[in-house]
């Protein structure tokens, strides 16, 4: 970050790294892209993640998924609540970071506050969505039969472009609250909060590998996010028509679930609902005979 003007002390700038398997490596490729402010000054050198980084993140997400899915709903709720607590504690930092990237002060405040509240909203759903979306089915034979939701598995995610924090939180929270793990590509033009949010996750009780956050060029990574054979679903936000088509085509390689969240205003209250959780859930039906 740039040195604060008028200050006698030389400030210490943060190196923005990526987040894989609960660790903060630089991209294995050693590449970067310069994030510039409106006057062309360099705000930060951001990691330009590679496909190899993505593959590493998938391995981490796959490894973490069964354990995270097995965590009780109560626990997952508390973990998400803890993330909100940590974010609240670093509220000023996130506002400053948004402002630094060109967001207005009041808009930045609103975005951070809404992000915290959205985490609380989904934390509360952790032990409730199952009751809303599951069923006991009155089959006509002598069986007990019920359908419950289970996480789809590993989810790749192209985060919204225009909302560096709120858009990210609004997609990550419903995905992981349902027991999935994910690999997120942060907004290309507003990447800083994503990295700082990884630090928040790290300081909370989210196990390593549950959320993996990469920065980099969408054009370079979208294909891999869509085609990787060990990813079960892809959520993409704000893709143009052509990108959406090639992404959907590639997703068919392993019958990936494709969730499109384009042109969503994440500031609206209608942008939070439990159907966002359901998007990355599978319905499992279990049968057992009734008798002696």
């Amino acid at each position: 970050m740039a040195q604060k003007s008028g200050s006698k002390r030389l400030s210490v700038a943060k190196t923005y790294k990526i987040y894989i398997d609960g660790k903060f490596p630089r991209t294995e490729s050693g590449r970067y892209f310069a994030l510039e402010d409106s006057k062309g000054g360099v705000i930060a050198n951001v990691c330009r993640s590679s496909r190899k980084d993505f593959r590493n993140a998938v391995v981490a997400a796959r490894k973490a998924q069964p354990g995270w899915a097995k965590a009780s709903a109560y626990l997952r709720g508390q973990v998400l609540y803890r993330v909100a607590e940590m974010l609240e504690g670093r509220r000023d930092q996130f506002i400053a970071e948004l402002v630094l990237q060109g967001v207005g002060q009041r808009a930045a405040e609103k975005e951070v506050d809404l992000s915290i509240d959205r985490l609380i909203y989904f934390a509360g759903w952790a032990d409730k969505y199952q009751q809303v979306f599951s069923a006991v089915n009155p089959v006509s034979s002598s069986h007990f039969n019920f359908s419950i939701l289970e996480p789809t598995g590993v989810v790749s995610m192209l985060a919204p472009n225009d909302s560096g924090l709120l858009g990210l939180v609004s997609n990550v929270a419903p995905t992981i609250v349902g027991g999935n793990t994910c690999i997120v590509l942060a907004s290309e033009k507003l990447p800083l909060c994503a990295v700082s949010f990884a630090e928040v996750l790290h300081a909370s009780d989210v196990p390593g590998g549950v959320v993996n956050i990469l920065t980099g060029h969408r054009s370079e990574l979208t294909g891999q996010f869509a085609s990787h054979m060990d990813v079960n679903a892809i959520i993409y936000c704000d893709a143009d028509r052509k990108t959406a088509q090639s992404l959907q085509h590639a997703a068919a390689d392993n019958i990936k679930r494709v969730v499109s969240r384009t042109r969503t205003d994440w500031f609206k209250s209608s942008a939070q609902h439990p159907y966002l959780i359901r998007d990355t859930q599978e319905v499992k039906t279990t049968w057992h005979p009734i008798g002696v």
């Binding site: 069923a135 089959v139 997703a251 392993n254 019958i255 499992k284 279990t286």
Partner: protein
């Protein structure tokens, strides 16, 4: 048949007399057109193809081959019918669907006989499973038509428009019911394509639709093969695609739909694990294994085609399985004593036989029952493979025939790891008398339907569909409505 003392001998001292279902009451026309806009119409190009009885290789009827132009006509008829259908009072829409269920029940035996003639499945199954379940499916979804606002809390449920539906040959009428019933209940109109080897009960269903007075164009049924299906998938006037079939074709469809706004659901292949623990009720488990793999000649996407037996009981289970296989009667699908009917087509028989060669070539030990099979027609004796491992093709790939691959395991974790080592995730089975073990295994198997101490059970109220490469979306139950609705805030 050799009968050592430990063998089951259901026919010892007795012979089964033939008990054929009569066919004098069924009506099959010599030729069927396409059911478009409420009428059977001739195909634009005037082409027809034969549908044959796989048990005799005799021609049953000729059905129209729908071209792109015919599909276009059907989609337009469905579009025209959509407005009035969606504006109709939901309760009235429901009553139309109830009518289909009732007429189907009235004509159930005719449907069952034709299903067995055209597809080769035993009459006992078409009579007791396919047709009753198909009618029940219409009855179940009929009642949803005016209750959709209660199904998805906080959302408004809107129909999608015209649904294109493509179904397989293994449960021809039942799959048509699974597709049409929820689509209509949700206010959509449909263009359905039955499989090319089993079009007849869909043609009979078209008659029922007409008899029920369903407004013209609400249900359109076009016959043909893959190209007709592709014409439906690619038609710009279709709002939703529902497909049941192979993962291979499902993938092509998903690719074809990329970049369109068509909603889709895919019910694809499977390679289900059926897991037998040492503490299971063994005799019941053996029956479950038999039903799991030999039901409908193994032409079942959720068939229990991979058997995992705990090592300590493996010898006993495999012996009992072989004994039970010896009692299975393979033959005339219309005979009420028949357990295993005809393989659906020459092509499918070739596929199955190629896998038998592959399995043996990979070093697997093949066992087949010694039952006689008819001279004409397409038949495959019940078959099992032992001595196979996870990497064998007969363990990994869907065969879609009466072929069981058997492996053993020692621990729970080993069984689970092996069970989940597949790109598929449609169904699974677990057999044990221990409740805690049941819940642990049913929760850990990555599959959409899990049967504990039972197998291959279906019900209209029970959602069905796969994880992973077995597809997406559910059919049946409340969850099955979702496939035919747009949920709005």
């Amino acid at each position: 048949m050799a009968t050592p003392e430990n063998k089951l001998a259901f026919d010892a001292g007795w012979q089964y007399s033939p008990a054929p279902e009569s066919t004098d009451h069924i009506k099959v026309r010599k030729r069927y057109g396409l059911f478009i806009g409420g009428d059977f119409v001739a195909p634009e190009k005037g082409k027809y193809f034969d549908t044959v009885n796989p048990a005799t290789e005799e021609k049953l009827s000729r059905v129209a081959l729908a071209s792109d132009a015919d599909v276009d006509k059907a989609v337009k008829a469905a579009r025209k019918a959509y407005g009035p259908w969606v504006r109709m009072k939901p309760a009235e829409r429901g009553k139309y669907i109830y009518r289909i269920a009732r007429i189907m029940q009235e004509r159930s035996r005719e449907f069952a006989a034709i299903e067995s003639l055209d597809g080769g499945k035993p009459i006992r199954e078409s009579r007791d499973v396919d047709v009753p379940l198909a009618a029940a499916h219409f009855f179940y979804y009929a009642g949803w038509a005016d209750k959709l606002e209660y199904a998805f809390p906080g959302r408004k449920a809107r129909p999608l428009g015209v649904a294109g539906q493509i179904i397989p040959w293994n449960f021809p009428l039942l799959m048509a019911a699974w597709k049409i019933a929820p689509a209509l209940a949700c206010g959509n109109t449909v263009v359905l394509k039955p499989a090319e080897t089993t079009p007849l009960t869909a043609m009979k269903l078209a008659e029922v639709v007409a008899d029920a007075g369903i407004p013209d164009g609400v249900v359109n049924i076009v016959t043909g093969a893959g190209e007709t299906g592709a014409a439906i998938v690619n038609h710009p006037g279709v709002d939703k695609i529902a497909f049941t079939g192979s993962t291979e074709v499902g993938r092509i469809i998903q690719q074809a739909l990329a970049g369109t706004n068509k909603k889709y659901t895919l019910e694809l292949g499977g390679k289900a694990a059926n897991i037998i623990f040492a503490d299971a009720a063994i005799d019941q488990a053996v029956e479950g294994i038999i039903n799991g793999i030999f039901f409908n000649q193994g032409h079942v996407c959720c068939a229990g085609s991979r058997l995992f037996v705990q090592e300590s009981v493996a010898e006993e289970v495999i012996q009992k399985l072989k004994d039970r296989m010896e009692t299975l009667i393979v033959g005339d699908p219309l005979d009420k004593n028949t357990d295993i009917g005809a393989i659906n087509s020459r092509q499918q028989l070739d596929t199955i036989e190629s896998y038998l060669a592959i399995g043996q070539g990979e070093g697997g030990e093949m066992y087949q029952s010694s039952c006689p099979v008819p001279d004409k027609g397409y038949w495959c004796r019940p078959t099992l493979f032992t001595g196979v491992s996870q990497s064998n093709r007969v363990v990994q790939e869907e065969i879609f025939g009466p072929v069981l691959a058997i492996q053993t395991f020692r621990t729970f974790d080993e069984a689970l790891t092996k069970a989940n080592n597949t790109p598929y995730g449609l169904s699974g089975g677990v057999w044990t008398d221990k409740g805690a073990k049941i819940f642990k295994m049913t929760q850990s198997v990555r599959a959409g339907v899990v049967w504990a101490n039972t197998f291959n059970k279906f019900d209209p109220t029970s959602p069905f569909g796969g994880y992973k490469e077995s597809g997406m979306g559910r059919e049946g139950g409340l969850h099955g409505l979702d496939a035919y609705l747009r949920l709005e805030a």
